[in-house]
């Protein structure tokens, strides 16, 4: 096809767009936007007193974000309304450089639209369960590496439970699955897990890293803020399998949708999560810069911050373009709103049902703000005025480029080469331990190439075609033979595929800090299964948040079941992160975090052995070991072992634990004080005979060891 010069084409489009706009407005008028539609609370006093019964909820079906984007496209480009929003426009539109130079898209794989190649033919056809497996197997065959056999069923159910829910399976669940010999047992298990409201909790953890969700402002004073409704919105969105394009649009521009529902306002908390510097003169600048950078990390899978000061050194993002994105965000104002919102999948167990809570949201200013490029990234030095716009190294906008709504539609446009790839890769990373693009935080020119480029593209296209369904993607990935492989690694595979990039085995990796806590609480039976609500204050070492100059905060440990809520509900204090989380590599969420480190160090050993939170769990797990068996050592140990890792202990393992139990039982029978101290003090003494207390304490020591096992803290 002969190429028309890009500039000419752009002018043609512009002309058509203008013409079409006048028509479109008559067809579909976007409603007036502004803060007036929101229930604004008059003062912080009212805000804190907002815990009262809700007014009758105004039932308003949330806007269909896909339809809104479609209308935007129609308004701006004049393309006829299409029913399939995922229908891509002419691929030639990639050539959008005004000067007609070679488009960057052609130069870097990640900037060209993914195309779904047919899954390749492989030698071992019987092995493959899904197209995924054919891509993976082809690469392995090329390297003359073999796949691993399927993992045993106890491993599989624990793997699935941890990956999807962030919780270990109960021994009963393991038994039921092992006993289920129907051919669709695995599929039914996946579907059961996909329907659990805990799925949203697990999925939210890493999204909240990107969204830099925290309960404090950060910076020097690190004051508290109330934004947990946003956290709940994320959990609920995952539970309801909100399509990723809608998920994007609501978080970036929920307030700009026609007649936005409360939930859509709440979603804009994504942008509001910025840390807030106490310095009033620069804090708006810092906040907007943070938002541009966050959008870069989250949807582009790229680090934008370099372009704040100068054209990006490695990636084709100019400083001008950086401030064009900044200009889009510069029109927003910060608001506090009372929202009658409880995520529908959280209502059953939520402590807050029916109450009106306040949260921070974003709204659009009436008058557009003028944005200037900041010379050398300095808020004090205005350069040229810049208009809102999108980076030219990606597809030309079909939906306008003036505001956040246009940005969100552009990001989820079928032409966008990055959004689906970045999202799919992130989910792959969460299920396999390492992304197809290992640098899941860098899809730019300096990022690593994908290990399986055709597979990544195939999945990205499939994701879009499926209507951006997260659950369908999880289902597809977990159903694959690749996912089901055993974690056992041969010396040969370890040498030739040390990081498991070629997927020669099932991924094996330590769980996230929050999940580690959940495993301990769940195995011990202490865990509260309440969903959502204000952040909670579990025990932490006294002084952790008090002993900070200027940001001292009194951490009042919750005395009710909130002590034992799941990790993700812990009050996220940016300057003094919950200690056991910090030790297990959770980020402080001052800025967007696209990838957590996964380290192993001695401080972690001290957490699982000695942190009173983990030791309390051990004591309760010890109690369960006795209560839920006939109390014989072998039965108690086996029960504890299975509550932690699912499977039965082997004939080599059991004696090791048995001798620990015997030694401890002997010690604690002789030392009544130690036994009492271990299980929690004198009130126990009156209720049980000493023999029973010694057994319990010995079980607690065994449980303490079980909770520290590598296998317990890993997902295999």
């Amino acid at each position: 096809m002969a190429r028309a010069p890009a500039l000419t084409r752009r002018m043609i489009w512009l002309g058509v767009g203008l013409l079409a706009a006048s028509v479109a407005i008559a067809v579909f008028v976007l409603p007036a936007r502004g803060p007036s539609k929101r229930r604004q609370l008059p003062s912080p006093v009212a805000a804190s007193a907002a815990v009262r019964p809700a007014e009758p909820a105004i039932v308003q079906p949330p806007a269909d974000t896909r339809a809104v984007c479609r209308e935007l496209v129609q308004r701006h480009s004049g393309t006829p309304p299409v029913t399939d929003s995922a229908a891509p426009s002419d691929p030639a539109l990639f050539d959008n450089r005004p000067d007609g130079t070679e488009p960057v898209a052609a130069a870097h794989w990640a900037f060209a639209r993914p195309r779904a190649a047919a899954p390749p033919e492989i030698a071992d056809r019987a092995w493959a369960r899904d197209a995924i497996d054919r891509f993976v197997e082809q690469r392995r065959e090329a390297e003359q590496l073999a796949h691993s056999p399927e993992a045993d069923k106890a491993t599989l159910i624990r793997r699935l439970s941890l990956d999807l829910l962030g919780l270990p399976p109960t021994p009963e669940e393991v038994d039921a699955f092992v006993a289920d010999s129907e051919p669709d047992a695995f599929e039914r298990l996946i579907d059961r897990l996909l329907a659990s409201p805990h799925l949203g909790e697990k999925s939210a953890i890493r999204w909240l890293d990107l969204a830099r969700y925290a309960d404090t402002n950060g910076f020097e004073f690190d004051a508290q803020r109330t934004l947990w409704l946003y956290r709940d919105w994320v959990i609920d969105a995952f539970n309801r399998d909100m399509p990723f394009d809608q998920f994007t649009v609501e978080q970036l521009a929920g307030d700009l949708l026609p007649d936005p529902a409360d939930s859509q306002q709440v979603a804009t908390g994504f942008l509001r999560n910025s840390a807030v510097a106490p310095d009033t003169m620069t804090h708006r600048f810092e906040m907007l810069v943070d938002r541009v950078n966050t959008i870069g990390s989250t949807w582009f899978g790229m680090t934008f911050s370099c372009a704040q000061c100068h054209d990006h050194k490695f990636d084709p993002l100019t400083q001008q373009e950086y401030y064009q994105l900044y200009a889009i965000l510069n029109n927003s104002i910060e608001e506090v709103t009372g929202a009658a919102y409880v995520g529908e999948t959280l209502t059953a167990a939520s402590p807050l049902t029916g109450e009106l809570a306040t949260t921070l949201v974003l709204a659009e200013r009436g008058e557009p703000s003028i944005t200037y490029l900041k010379v050398r990234g300095s808020p004090a030095e205005d350069g040229e005025q810049v208009e809102p716009g999108f980076p030219a190294f990606l597809h030309a906008p079909r939906c306008g480029d003036g505001d956040r709504l246009a940005l969100a539609c552009w990001l989820t446009d079928a032409d966008n080469p990055l959004t689906a790839r970045v999202a799919v890769n992130r989910l792959w990373e969460s299920l396999f331990g390492i992304g197809l693009v290992r640098t899941s935080d860098d899809f730019g020119l300096r990022g690593e190439l994908p290990s399986h480029p055709e597979l990544l593209d195939w999945l990205a296209v499939d994701f879009q075609r499926s209507g951006w369904s997260n659950k369908q993607l999880i289902r597809r990935l977990t159903m694959s033979a690749t996912y089901r492989q055993s974690p056992v690694v041969s010396t040969d595979a370890l040498e030739r595929d040390p990081q498991n990039r070629l997927l020669t085995r099932g991924g094996r990796f330590r769980v996230d800090a929050e999940v580690l806590r959940d495993i301990a609480l769940s195995a011990s039976g202490l865990m509260s299964t309440n969903l959502g609500g204000p952040s909670v204050f579990p025990w932490q070492p006294p002084g952790t948040s008090e002993n900070v100059e200027f940001a001292a905060f009194h951490w009042r440990v919750d005395q009710n079941e909130n002590r034992h809520r799941r990790g993700l509900y812990t009050h996220w204090k940016r300057r003094t992160l919950y200690p056991s989380f910090a030790i297990f590599d959770a980020p402080n969420r001052t800025s967007a975090c696209a990838r957590r480190e996964r380290n192993t160090n001695p401080l972690q050993a001290l957490v699982s052995l000695n942190d009173p939170v983990f030791f309390e769990a051990a004591v309760y797990l010890g109690g369960r070991m006795l209560d839920e068996t006939d109390g014989s050592p072998a039965a108690a140990i086996t029960r504890g072992f299975r509550l932690c890792v699912g499977r039965f202990p082997t004939p080599q393992e059991l004696p090791l634990l048995r001798s620990l139990f015997d030694a401890e039982q002997k010690r604690l029978l002789d030392d009544a004080d130690a036994a009492l101290a271990l299980v929690g003090g004198s009130d126990v003494a009156a209720r049980f005979p000493h023999r029973r207390i010694a057994d319990w304490a010995a079980c607690a020591v065994v449980a303490n060891s079980l909770l520290s096992l590598d296998e317990t803290v890993c997902r295999e």
Binding site: I583, N599, Q604, E711
Partner: protein, 487 residues
């Protein structure tokens, strides 16, 4: 509170300018080689293979971080001319056309006045260095010190937290690895029973937060581990009630036997790392309480430092620092707060609070130096005294205050370095006659960082880590080794 300057915060500008020049690019090739090997050592504090760029002059670093910024004008930077002009209006005629928030009069009706030092200075030792009467003990070891009296700081980093982060991590934002973390990353630990980087606080975290000792994007094994002289020496170090040392040993043996079985079955080498981590944790449980137990020191040593076992104090931390260095710990960072003498409250008064603060560190610092020297440890230990700012030669005179104070100041400050690889008894750099501005051989925190790395055997331009799509280093694109200081 600190006002925002009229010419505003432009903390990114110099950074941006320099990074557009070719300054940071030359090292990329080597950097990528290094960062590959960095992945391999991501889980343990072992040195990077081949990363030592020079023969190391120093094996250990003790950084005396005087958070808040001590007044160099009242401690080390003697300015007779300033004393002569005491009380004169600090106008342009005297100071030139410099604009900075800290120089604007706090009280519009009372113009800023120069403030000479109310303290007497005297020459000490063979080097004849001038030290004020507030630090008589440090004056006694002054021949071991080399001063940097032309320190200046980024004027766009206008407040303490950001300046503290710049001093210790090279950037005014949280998230970068700190100096001690870089040293741990580059050089590893010399004692398998202890972390390579230990932080000792006189009381609280500094305003820069835990970011001042964080591992940033480096593996968390390199983070600064806070040790305490009282209570639990390390977070979660103590066994739970009813769990004896024997019981703990049995537990960890069982855990590691089970982990070893799992490793043999699964073949995952990460399990070996976890086994090693549990072993180190166990050894720390044994070694750390002994190590922090200052009652094991003889009485004359306790007296030398002014240490009182069981207390949390800077003096105790100095003694503990020596004990940690003896055990092979790479970096000990001592954090002492309360040097922010603005004169707005009695607790920040130049006349009352400053002498008290000096007294709380003077004896201990001198004791640390002489104790290290006497044990031959000063030959392999670099000791650095520094802060995030200096202070102004002007009476800050906040409205309504009856106290004397000086604002923190980016244009002049004093650091000193002593010990391994340092040519002692020197003074490098100088401020103008009024102590307002570093004018002779000015040095910056990046130069100090580069010099520390150099003395420890590392090239600050080649010690890099690749993350977020680029290579990072402690000194970013700045810094050069202060050659004149080296022995």
């Amino acid at each position: 509170m600190v006002d925002v300057s009229e010419n505003m915060i432009d903390r990114f500008s110099r950074r941006a300018f320099l990074s557009r020049s070719s300054a940071g690019v030359g090292s990329l090739a080597l950097a990528s080689l290094l960062s590959q090997s960095s992945q391999a050592s991501a889980t343990s504090a072992t040195p990077l293979p081949g990363v030592s760029h020079y023969p190391a002059r120093a094996k250990h670093l003790i950084f005396l971080f005087m958070a808040g910024a001590p007044s160099q004008i009242d401690l080390f930077d003697y300015k007779p001319k300033l004393n002569e002009f005491d009380g004169r209006t600090a106008d342009r005629e005297l100071l030139g056309d410099v604009r900075f928030a800290q120089l604007r009069p706090r009280n519009p009706n009372a113009p800023s006045k120069l403030l000479g030092s109310p303290y007497k200075f005297r020459q000490h030792g063979e080097s004849g260095a001038l030290v004020s009467e507030l630090l008589p003990h440090i004056a006694g070891v002054v021949d071991d010190l080399s001063f940097l009296k032309g320190m200046k700081f980024d004027e766009q980093v206008f407040d303490h937290p950001f300046a503290q982060l710049t001093l210790l991590t090279g950037a005014p934002l949280e998230g970068r690895p700190s100096l001690g973390a870089w040293l741990s990353y580059g050089l590893g630990s010399e004692n398998a029973n202890l972390p390579a980087f230990i932080v000792l606080m006189s009381n609280l975290l500094p305003r820069g937060g835990s970011g001042t000792s964080s591992s940033g994007f480096l593996p968390s094994v390199h983070q600064g581990v806070p040790f305490n002289c009282h209570g639990d020496p390390v977070l979660f170090l103590a066994n739970p009630p009813g769990v004896t040392a024997d019981a703990r040993r049995r537990s960890v043996e069982t855990i590691n036997s089970l982990n070893a079985l799992r490793r043999d079955l699964i073949g995952d080498p990460e399990i070996s790392t976890r086994i090693a981590a549990f072993e180190l944790a166990c050894r720390m449980q044994t070694s750390a309480p002994e190590l922090v137990d200052l009652t094991r020191e003889p009485k004359h040593i306790l007296e030398l430092y002014g240490a009182e076992p069981g207390k949390q104090s800077f003096a105790n931390n100095c003694l503990l620092a020596r004990r940690l260095i003896e055990q092979g710990v790479r970096t000990v960072q001592l954090v002492d707060l309360d040097w922010d003498h603005h004169g707005d409250t009695p607790a920040r008064d130049l006349m009352g609070a400053l002498p008290r603060q000096c007294a709380s560190v003077d004896r201990a610092v001198a004791a640390l130096l002489s104790d290290l020297k006497q044990r031959g440890l000063l030959e392999e230990t670099l000791v650095v005294w520094g802060a995030e700012f200096g202070r102004t030669p002007i009476d800050e005179r906040r409205p309504g205050t009856i106290h004397l104070g000086r604002d923190h100041h980016p244009f002049a400050g004093t650091f000193w370095m002593a010990g391994a690889g340092i040519k002692p008894g020197q003074t490098l750099g100088a401020t103008d006659e009024l102590g307002f501005m570093a004018v002779e051989r000015p040095t910056e925190v990046f130069d100090v960082q580069a010099t520390i790395l150099h003395l420890m055997g590392l090239d600050h331009e080649r010690l890099t880590y690749r993350t977020q799509g680029r290579d990072f280093r402690l000194t970013d694109v700045y810094g050069s080794v202060i050659g004149e200081l080296l022995a």
